[in-house]
Amino acid sequence: MASGVDQAVGMGLVGFSLLLFIYYTLWVIVLPFVDSDHVIHGYFLPREYSVILPGIAALLLVLFVGMFIVVVMWKNRKPKKTQ
Protein backbone atom coordinates (compact mmCIF):
# COMPACT_ATOMS: atom_id res chain seq x y z
CA MET A 1 0.00 0.00 0.00
CA ALA A 2 1.12 3.56 -0.64
CA SER A 3 2.59 5.46 2.31
CA GLY A 4 0.49 7.75 4.53
CA VAL A 5 1.50 11.03 2.91
CA ASP A 6 0.97 9.57 -0.57
CA GLN A 7 -2.50 8.42 0.35
CA ALA A 8 -3.39 11.80 1.85
CA VAL A 9 -2.11 13.74 -1.17
CA GLY A 10 -3.77 11.33 -3.61
CA MET A 11 -7.14 11.41 -1.91
CA GLY A 12 -6.82 15.18 -1.53
CA LEU A 13 -6.40 15.47 -5.30
CA VAL A 14 -9.41 13.21 -5.87
CA GLY A 15 -11.54 15.30 -3.51
CA PHE A 16 -10.37 18.58 -5.00
CA SER A 17 -11.03 17.49 -8.58
CA LEU A 18 -14.47 16.19 -7.59
CA LEU A 19 -15.41 19.49 -5.90
CA LEU A 20 -14.12 21.48 -8.85
CA PHE A 21 -16.07 19.30 -11.29
CA ILE A 22 -19.32 19.59 -9.32
CA TYR A 23 -19.02 23.37 -8.90
CA TYR A 24 -18.17 23.89 -12.57
CA THR A 25 -20.96 21.58 -13.77
CA LEU A 26 -23.52 23.42 -11.62
CA TRP A 27 -22.20 26.74 -12.93
CA VAL A 28 -22.21 25.90 -16.66
CA ILE A 29 -24.92 23.24 -17.08
CA VAL A 30 -27.47 23.62 -14.27
CA LEU A 31 -27.64 27.35 -13.54
CA PRO A 32 -29.07 28.43 -16.96
CA PHE A 33 -32.17 26.37 -16.17
CA VAL A 34 -32.65 27.92 -12.72
CA ASP A 35 -34.86 31.03 -12.29
CA SER A 36 -32.76 34.18 -12.19
CA ASP A 37 -34.15 35.21 -8.80
CA HIS A 38 -33.17 31.96 -7.05
CA VAL A 39 -30.80 32.20 -4.06
CA ILE A 40 -28.22 29.87 -5.60
CA HIS A 41 -27.13 32.41 -8.23
CA GLY A 42 -25.40 34.38 -5.46
CA TYR A 43 -22.85 31.60 -5.01
CA PHE A 44 -21.60 31.80 -8.58
CA LEU A 45 -19.71 34.50 -10.49
CA PRO A 46 -21.15 35.95 -13.72
CA ARG A 47 -21.07 33.41 -16.54
CA GLU A 48 -18.29 35.11 -18.52
CA TYR A 49 -15.88 34.00 -15.80
CA SER A 50 -16.71 30.35 -16.45
CA VAL A 51 -14.75 30.71 -19.71
CA ILE A 52 -12.21 33.37 -18.66
CA LEU A 53 -10.95 31.59 -15.51
CA PRO A 54 -10.13 28.26 -17.24
CA GLY A 55 -8.48 30.29 -20.01
CA ILE A 56 -6.23 32.02 -17.48
CA ALA A 57 -5.51 28.69 -15.77
CA ALA A 58 -4.50 27.13 -19.10
CA LEU A 59 -2.23 30.11 -19.82
CA LEU A 60 -0.58 29.78 -16.40
CA LEU A 61 -0.10 26.06 -16.97
CA VAL A 62 1.63 26.64 -20.31
CA LEU A 63 3.82 29.35 -18.74
CA PHE A 64 4.72 27.04 -15.86
CA VAL A 65 5.64 24.14 -18.14
CA GLY A 66 7.66 26.47 -20.36
CA MET A 67 9.57 27.93 -17.40
CA PHE A 68 10.25 24.42 -16.09
CA ILE A 69 11.73 23.36 -19.43
CA VAL A 70 13.84 26.53 -19.61
CA VAL A 71 15.19 25.99 -16.09
CA VAL A 72 16.02 22.32 -16.68
CA MET A 73 17.71 23.00 -20.01
CA TRP A 74 19.66 25.92 -18.51
CA LYS A 75 20.94 23.74 -15.66
CA ASN A 76 22.00 20.99 -18.07
CA ARG A 77 24.00 23.11 -20.48
CA LYS A 78 27.58 21.91 -20.81
CA PRO A 79 30.52 23.83 -22.30
CA LYS A 80 31.54 22.63 -25.75
CA LYS A 81 34.24 19.93 -25.66
CA THR A 82 37.63 20.91 -27.10
CA GLN A 83 39.57 18.32 -29.09
Binding site: M1, A2, S3, D6, Q7, V9, G10, M11, G12, L13, V14, F16, S17, L18, L20, F21, Y24, T25, V28, I29, P32, F33, R47, S50, V51, P54, G55
Partner: protein, 92 residues
Protein backbone atom coordinates in the same frame (compact mmCIF):
# COMPACT_ATOMS: atom_id res chain seq x y z
CA UNK B 1 -8.63 4.19 -41.04
CA UNK B 2 -5.88 5.27 -38.67
CA UNK B 3 -6.60 6.20 -35.06
CA UNK B 4 -5.74 9.81 -35.79
CA UNK B 5 -8.24 9.90 -38.66
CA UNK B 6 -10.87 8.31 -36.41
CA UNK B 7 -10.37 10.85 -33.65
CA UNK B 8 -10.32 13.78 -36.06
CA UNK B 9 -13.52 12.65 -37.78
CA UNK B 10 -15.24 12.13 -34.45
CA UNK B 11 -14.13 15.53 -33.17
CA UNK B 12 -15.12 17.23 -36.44
CA UNK B 13 -18.57 15.65 -36.32
CA UNK B 14 -19.12 16.78 -32.73
CA UNK B 15 -17.75 20.22 -33.60
CA UNK B 16 -20.18 20.58 -36.49
CA UNK B 17 -23.11 19.52 -34.29
CA UNK B 18 -22.05 22.03 -31.63
CA UNK B 19 -21.65 24.85 -34.15
CA UNK B 20 -25.04 24.03 -35.69
CA UNK B 21 -26.72 24.46 -32.31
CA UNK B 22 -24.65 27.39 -30.98
CA UNK B 23 -24.69 29.54 -34.11
CA UNK B 24 -28.16 28.44 -35.20
CA UNK B 25 -26.99 27.25 -38.62
CA UNK B 26 -30.02 25.03 -39.24
CA UNK B 27 -32.66 27.58 -38.34
CA UNK B 28 -33.71 25.55 -35.29
CA UNK B 29 -34.01 28.65 -33.03
CA UNK B 30 -33.04 26.94 -29.73
CA UNK B 31 -34.31 28.48 -26.47
CA UNK B 32 -31.97 30.92 -24.66
CA UNK B 33 -31.22 28.45 -21.83
CA UNK B 34 -29.99 25.84 -24.34
CA UNK B 35 -27.77 28.45 -26.00
CA UNK B 36 -26.37 29.47 -22.61
CA UNK B 37 -25.35 25.85 -22.00
CA UNK B 38 -24.17 25.19 -25.55
CA UNK B 39 -21.81 28.19 -25.90
CA UNK B 40 -19.22 27.28 -23.25
CA UNK B 41 -19.55 23.52 -23.92
CA UNK B 42 -16.04 22.96 -25.44
CA UNK B 43 -14.40 24.76 -22.49
CA UNK B 44 -16.60 22.80 -20.11
CA UNK B 45 -15.54 19.48 -21.67
CA UNK B 46 -11.88 20.50 -21.44
CA UNK B 47 -12.25 21.41 -17.76
CA UNK B 48 -14.12 18.13 -17.14
CA UNK B 49 -11.28 16.22 -18.85
CA UNK B 50 -8.76 18.10 -16.68
CA UNK B 51 -10.68 17.24 -13.51
CA UNK B 52 -10.93 13.59 -14.55
CA UNK B 53 -7.19 13.43 -15.29
CA UNK B 54 -6.31 15.10 -11.98
CA UNK B 55 -8.60 12.75 -10.07
CA UNK B 56 -7.18 9.69 -11.82
CA UNK B 57 -3.60 10.76 -11.07
CA UNK B 58 -4.51 11.36 -7.41
CA UNK B 59 -6.28 8.02 -7.13
CA UNK B 60 -3.35 6.16 -8.67
CA UNK B 61 -0.94 7.91 -6.30
CA UNK B 62 -3.09 6.96 -3.30
CA UNK B 63 -3.46 3.30 -4.32
CA UNK B 64 0.08 2.76 -5.58
CA UNK B 65 1.41 -0.65 -4.55
CA UNK B 66 4.62 0.27 -2.73
CA UNK B 67 6.90 -2.69 -2.01
CA UNK B 68 9.18 -1.51 0.78
CA UNK B 69 11.26 -4.71 1.11
CA UNK B 70 11.75 -4.91 -2.65
CA UNK B 71 12.77 -1.22 -2.76
CA UNK B 72 15.35 -1.72 0.01
CA UNK B 73 16.70 -4.82 -1.74
CA UNK B 74 16.97 -2.90 -5.02
CA UNK B 75 18.90 -0.06 -3.37
CA UNK B 76 21.31 -2.56 -1.83
CA UNK B 77 21.84 -4.22 -5.22
CA UNK B 78 22.52 -0.81 -6.82
CA UNK B 79 25.16 -0.01 -4.20
CA UNK B 80 26.73 -3.43 -4.69
CA UNK B 81 26.82 -3.00 -8.47
CA UNK B 82 28.36 0.50 -8.13
CA UNK B 83 31.21 -0.66 -5.89
CA UNK B 84 31.79 -3.66 -8.13
CA UNK B 85 31.99 -1.59 -11.31
CA UNK B 86 34.15 1.08 -9.67
CA UNK B 87 36.62 -1.60 -8.60
CA UNK B 88 36.77 -2.68 -12.24
CA UNK B 89 37.68 0.82 -13.36
CA UNK B 90 34.38 2.40 -14.47
CA UNK B 91 34.18 6.06 -13.44
CA UNK B 92 30.80 7.49 -12.38
Amino acid sequence: MTKLAEWLSGLTLLGVLWAAVTFDLLGLDPPEAVLQVSRPLPVFLLVALGCFSLGTVGYRVATFNDCQPAAAELQAQIREAKTDLQSKGLRF
